[in-house]
């Protein structure tokens, strides 16, 4: 690939104000070592197609905005070096399983709505402590391990685009919302299992998952949503027989006693909110 001097982008374009259906357009740009798919898109926009649209922000695989189909696989454009694709011919399309807003911009609202329905935050009865924390909730390193990898999800929707069940079942919540439901159900600081079960127990829940595993294969952050969904099923089955380990939401960790601040370390600033 060291001989590559140019790279060709074949991009699926769609402008709802002009086009009846999506079509492909081809652009060729100069290649420089280290060029990512996202860098190339900016080059295309700068030189050849100023009206080209996509989402992106952080350029470092953190924000999850630039998920798109790159040579048939859902990836983050910013995280994908062109050199690692093994070709100078790129085919870009918006993430499948979503409506297209324009060009490479998918409509992620169904995913966000499903995510929202599953209360993706710590649900606790002690609202006062949640709103105005006075300390830390106790959680052991082992308890943290139970959900840590699932908390790396950046909601880029690559898993949703790769899921064969999402492709055919409009009701199924999909790997991202379900994975995040498991993430919070497994958090010992959380007490929202019963609330989430209202959604998980019906047809939006994990029951239609075939365990194809594509969601885990494409995840750019190495999260394993397929595993989360199977663990979620196990939790819900055990719940039917009242065998699910009931973890009360963790209590506030006791504050350390008889510890003095070392010299020269200033007080923390007062909360501004």
């Amino acid at each position: 690939m060291s001989e590559m001097t140019k790279v060709t982008y074949r991009i699926r374009r769609f402008d709802p104000t002009k086009d009846a259906s999506p079509h492909f357009e081809t652009y060729t740009i100069p290649y420089t070592p280290g060029l990512t798919v996202l860098d190339g898109l900016w080059r295309v926009k700068e030189l050849l197609a100023p009206d080209l649209s996509w989402r992106s922000s952080c350029r470092m695989g953190v924000c999850g905005s630039c998920g798109m189909l790159v040579n048939g696989m859902a990836r983050l454009a910013c995280n994908t070096q062109i050199s690692e694709l093994g070709t100078d011919q790129l085919v870009l399309a918006p993430l499948p399983n979503f409506d297209i807003i324009r060009d490479l911009v998918p409509d992620l609202m169904p995913m966000i709505a499903a995510h929202q329905d599953l209360h993706p935050y710590l649900v606790r009865e002690d609202v006062a402590e949640r709103e105005s924390p006075t300390g830390e909730f106790f959680q052991s390193p082992h308890e943290l391990e139970q959900y840590l990898q699932f908390s790396y999800c950046i909601k880029c929707a690559c898993c949703m685009a790769a899921c064969p069940t999402v492709a055919s079942d409009p009701v199924y919540a999909g790997p991202m919302p379900l994975g995040q439901a498991h993430r919070y159900n497994s958090d010992t600081r959380d007490g929202g299992f019963a609330l989430r079960r209202e959604v998980l127990a019906d047809e939006r829940g994990p029951w239609r998952c075939h365990f194809a595993g594509e969601c885990s294969r494409v995840c750019p952050k190495g999260v394993d949503p397929a595993k989360a969904i199977q663990l979620l099923k196990r939790q819900l089955v055990l719940d039917i027989f009242h065998l699910r380990q009931q973890k009360c939401p963790a209590e506030l960790a006791p504050k350390p006693k008889d510890i003095n601040r070392r010299d020269g370390i200033p007080e923390a600033p007062k909360p501004s909110v």
Partner: protein
Amino acid sequence: MMRDQKLWTWHIIAGAVILVFLGLHMLTMHMEGVIKIGSLNPASARSEARGGEEIHPTSWPNVRARGVRTLYMASYILLLGAALFHGLYGLNNIIREANPAKWVQKAVTVVLLLVGVGLFVFGTWAAIAARAVARAAVPGL
């Protein structure tokens, strides 16, 4: 609410039941020459103890000897119920994944439910009737 959670759980339990009973079926019908368990083929065991001829698991004396036992009748009915539920619920899910219209989904569910209940009632009657026939064929019962 809870509908899919419960149905899917029963689907898995039915799968486990089928696994156990199919294992027993394999032991009874196809592995008699390898593993001999007398209670699975009582007529064969009796014949062998007397030094008589070999009796096939599906031969009438074995079928009759199993059929008179209430435990076997109950196991036939349990296997029938588990297989019908597992198969028809699975079929219902497969059809739903083709994403038909809501009314088609409902119609398919109702039809499969009626087929399942009908076959279960018929199969249960057959298992009970077969036991009665087997008992009538055994003198002294």
